[in-house]
Subunit: 306 residues, 2 copies
């Protein structure tokens, strides 16, 4: 029975989990910055938008000061994962760790630092950070969970149940990979194109009328990704092109995280997203010239301000 | 004998021609903006940098006010060519027109508006515009000239001689296409990559150490271009990859015009450069997926600020 949850990483996704789960469990938050932890301890955490919550949490930037927990939700940025996993090494026996990062490979990074059972997850929810202790809940879409290695499916279902009771939406799947790969292909395509063009995820991404329309490139990138998934033996849960078309029909255009990273001149998560797809493609001998090109363009763009 | 020259387009390249040629010929300048013409008539034109000149020119934004001339040098931006050629229609019998635009196809646009003999040219010189009447001459590299259709080669040589006497550097070639295509492939590659990454033409463009290094993409783009040239029966004058490597070894990184257009949020010349290459590729049945991708990314980026 999960009674104590620790959120590792106090970004948008971590805060959405922390604020909601604090309604149904004891929640601690392991932050990267000490002043962030101090503020959460003093003020609690506010969630606005699709939920309206004020949550009490125990926060610290020091793993030794985090109380024991049953479920750890790893919600760092890809660029902060290695440091967070290393900081947790040797702590929290008895915990199950759930990874919610974009891309592929977060589970392997966590495994290198401890033998906790691991739950794989992908989340489609989104939010906007207004302050260290205030996040707006924007898209109330699902988080999907599945077992990693020999984690019992019952534990995955228990975690999904808890998340659903908290007011968020979750689904436990016996095999997460079809969903994880659908999101990987979608993210590798949409994030990299947004980062390079400066466009939010708007109807240009689905436009295929004129030969120079961007939708052709998006479609070709999706097709490359699908060829890699097929070679890896993954039957995709959702068609990433359909995910793209549907997402661009929403009222307001989503700003993919890599676009925000670019505008803030931060390093992006490209290595764990497009990089993961390109590495899988190489492993299976599938050519992905367009994803490779976008990978190099985003890396070059990161260098343009250094 | 060329005694009177008209420069059509008062941008950087046009101003470099006007300022130098005014030392050895009567020079008029057809500008797009009337206040630009007024200023040139009042103050003349100053060239600094590799030359130090003050030139007297006759300028107007109205073709009817331009005195008769023997040689017209068309140096508009690609985006201004159609309007400039249309404005000249019906004027200047007896003139030879020389096109100096990037890409391919400027000659056809001029031909649609008059039956002047045409000289094709590509120029490698560069400069920086400090004011309407002051341009700095930066790279004193050559302009190459060749006959278009049945223009006599003697007339091409005469134009090249005049340019050389003016202090600029020119070379007359019996067939310009090998040089024009070398520059087309170089420009389609370097301009588009700079526009998308935000990088000036610096050593990143030649870096091929790590798999994600930008030089691999630049090399692949050059190879696509070379395949199109081969299919079109063009033996390139210079290898565009070598042009790229040499250019990145110069002291200070050149800022390609499309990068400057992007930063100023102006439409780029992509349709006449990458667009020309992609259209030639389609005509000859050569796949150019990477140039096509860059074409779509630049067009999408142009839409990101509209």
């Amino acid at each position: 029975m999960i009674q104590r949850v620790c959120i590792i990483g106090g970004g948008v996704i971590g805060s959405l989990f922390a604020g909601h789960l604090a309604q149904v469990a004891e929640v601690s938050v392991l932050t990267r910055r000490r002043e962030h932890a101090d503020l959460l301890n003093a003020e609690g955490l506010r969630i606005s938008g699709r939920s309206d919550l004020q949550a009490r949490v125990t926060a610290s930037a020091d793993p030794a000061a985090i109380p024991a927990f049953d479920l750890g939700i790893v919600a760092t940025k890809a660029t902060g994962l290695e440091a967070a996993a290393a900081a947790m090494a040797g702590h929290f026996p008895g915990a199950t760790m759930m990874t919610t990062l974009n891309g592929l490979g977060a589970e392997e990074v966590v495994r290198r630092h401890g033998d906790w059972p691991i739950i794989s997850a992908v989340t489609f929810m989104s939010g906007t950070r207004h302050a260290d202790a205030h996040v707006e809940y924007i898209l109330d879409t699902e988080t999907w969970l599945g077992p990693y290695e020999d984690t019992p499916f019952a534990r995955v279902q228990e975690a999904a149940d808890l998340i659903n009771r908290s007011g968020l939406h979750a689904q436990a799947l016996p095999d997460l990979r079809p969903a994880q790969w659908s999101k990987l292909i979608f993210n590798a395509t949409v994030n990299a194109v947004a980062a390079v063009t400066g466009l939010p995820h708007d109807p240009h991404f689905a436009a295929e009328a004129a030969p120079t329309d961007l939708g052709h490139l998006v479609h070709d990138l999706v097709d490359e990704g699908k060829a890699v998934a097929a070679a890896a033996g993954i039957a995709l849960r959702d068609d990433p092109w359909q995910m793209n078309v549907l997402a661009t029909r929403r009222g307001s255009a989503h700003r993919p995280s890599m676009l925000e990273d670019m505008e803030a001149r931060r390093p992006t998560e490209i290595d764990l997203i497009t990089g993961a797809l390109v590495r899988e493609a190489a492993r299976h001998g599938v050519p992905v010239p367009l994803h490779t090109a976008l990978y190099r363009l985003v890396k070059a763009k990161e260098k343009s301000w250094s």
